[in-house]
């Protein structure tokens, strides 16, 4: 599963704030409380903790479907976050970018796919350098 860099985040999201409907959204009958709107949400703030360190990438492939990341989605990648066990990361593999889950098992480091079709890949050396950034959010069009 590869990924392609998109433009600067601020150009894509802009600074626009959007109104937020009160209460949680039920996946069934619409809440009658949603007659009026309060609060506003800035997508930029919601999705991006470290603006200077954040890059957006377009996902290619289906190796991370199990983690809710689909072909054509946009991932928000934050380089300021320290990669750790269980984090979904953009890794550099053979000169290409790939989205994988980072796993530490018995002192060894693996890059796992979230799709049984793909086997975990052991990271032999320079493991820290092979992680480009940590994926914090997925933007998925329904």
């Amino acid at each position: 599963m590869g990924c392609k860099l998109l433009g600067p985040a601020s150009e894509i999201f802009g600074e626009t704030t959007l109104p937020l409907a009160p209460g949680a959204v039920r996946a069934g009958f619409p809440s009658p409380a949603a007659d009026y709107l309060e609060n506003t949400v800035c997508l930029q703030e919601l999705l991006i903790a470290h603006p200077q360190a954040t890059f957006l990438m377009r996902v290619e492939g289906d190796s991370m479907v199990g983690a809710g990341i689909h072909d054509g989605d946009i991932v928000v990648v934050d380089r300021a976050i320290k990669p750790g066990d269980g984090k979904v990361v953009v890794a550099v593999m053979d000169g290409d970018f790939a989205i994988k889950r980072l796993r530490y098992r018995g002192g060894e480091c693996f890059l796992e796919s979230a799709n049984p079709k793909f086997k975990p890949i052991p990271v032999t050396e320079h493991s820290e350098n092979s992680v480009w950034g940590v994926v914090t959010n997925v933007i998925h069009r329904l």
Binding site: L5, G7, P8, P51, Q52, A53, R79, V92, G95, W132
Partner: protein, 331 residues
């Protein structure tokens, strides 16, 4: 203390962040219209690529060594520069952004400037993937010198009163801020070799031969601050639009079309600053002396525009200068 932070081989490093295959291989970035080399990775420098070499002259070296070549992508470099400057600005109480990849930082009163610089450097590397160097000293000129020395000394160098001689003897004269080719030649003829030699120069002699600017440089090297941090950029005095032609131009019509484009760009920049101007000198290149194909045949232009001042530049891009700028629109 003043620090100078700058990106190593900035444009090449920006390309590398988003293209892992470029790691460890020679990379060069070309100017607008792929005219000449404007950035080189360390590997490319080692192969002998020089700044400003026209692409056609570098082509053989490029092909022999399989050098990866990129057209400049100013949208990318501008975005990475903005990110870097935001981090640097947050790292010090006052800053002066000096160029797309250089920034002076006010380190006055900082308890451990070297450690702070190392942390800033590591943050930029981690957050942006960009390698930077930071030079720290009492004056801007010394900070510039420290920054140059940092390139091959672990990324951070601090020049203090105690180690000035040790560091400045390691810095060749022409690496000093403000020493161009002419000054370098004159100083070498006098026996100066390193920045330390210039530091020791007789101020009266320097003032006589290099004016107040030269004298100021010596004082700055001696740790006496003459240049302050300029947080607000002074208004620009000139606008310049300089580009190489993509192909050799021989027809007046084509030259006029290209120049109309430059006028358009320059006028847009002048208007954007709410200024006006009464003169716009034009420079047309003539590279016939190089023995290679000139990029432009000046003859038709000279015939049709006898009042156009043609200068011989080699190998220079065509350029349109607009100067000086007057605030306000023409009356």
């Amino acid at each position: 203390m003043i620090a100078l932070a700058d990106g190593n081989n900035f444009y090449c490093s920006c390309e590398r962040v988003f293209n892992p295959t470029l790691e460890g291989v020679p990379v060069v970035v070309l100017s607008n219209n792929d005219g000449c080399v404007v950035a080189r990775s360390e590997e490319a420098k080692a192969l002998g690529f020089e700044m400003g070499t026209p692409e056609f002259q570098a082509r053989e070296l490029i092909e022999t060594h399989g050098v990866r070549v990129f057209s400049s992508n100013y949208t990318l470099y501008g975005d990475m520069s903005r990110r870097m400057m935001e981090l640097l600005t947050a790292s010090a109480p006052a800053t002066e952004i000096y160029s797309i990849d250089e920034c002076f930082l006010d380190y006055t009163g900082m308890a451990d400037p070297e450690e702070h610089a190392r942390r800033t450097r590591e943050q930029v590397r981690q957050w942006l993937g960009l390698p930077i160097c930071i030079g720290i000293a009492a004056t801007k000129t010394l900070a510039k010198a420290a920054n140059k020395l940092a390139k091959h000394n672990g990324g951070v160098v601090m020049i203090t009163a105690d180690n000035t001689e040790e560091w400045l003897t390691k810095l060749p004269l022409d690496k000093l801020w403000g020493i161009g080719r002419a000054h370098d030649r004159r100083l070498r003829a006098r026996g100066f070799r390193t920045a330390w030699d210039f530091h020791q120069a007789d101020p009266a002699w320097v003032r006589k031969h290099m004016g107040v600017v030269g004298e100021r440089m010596v004082r700055e090297l001696q740790g006496i601050a003459c240049l302050s941090l300029e947080e607000v950029q002074p208004d620009r005095q000139n606008v310049c639009c300089a580009k190489s032609f993509g192909t050799r131009l021989t027809e007046l019509r084509d030259i006029e079309e290209a120049l109309a484009n430059y006028v358009n760009t320059s006028a847009g920049r002048v208007r954007a600053r709410c200024c006006s101007s009464a003169s716009a000198p034009l420079r047309l290149p003539n590279s016939s002396e190089t023995g290679s194909q000139p990029m432009l045949d000046q003859r038709p232009a000279i015939r049709s525009y006898p009042h156009v001042r043609c200068l011989t530049f080699r190998p220079a891009p065509a350029a349109l200068f607009v100067r000086p700028l007057h605030t306000g629109l023409p009356s």
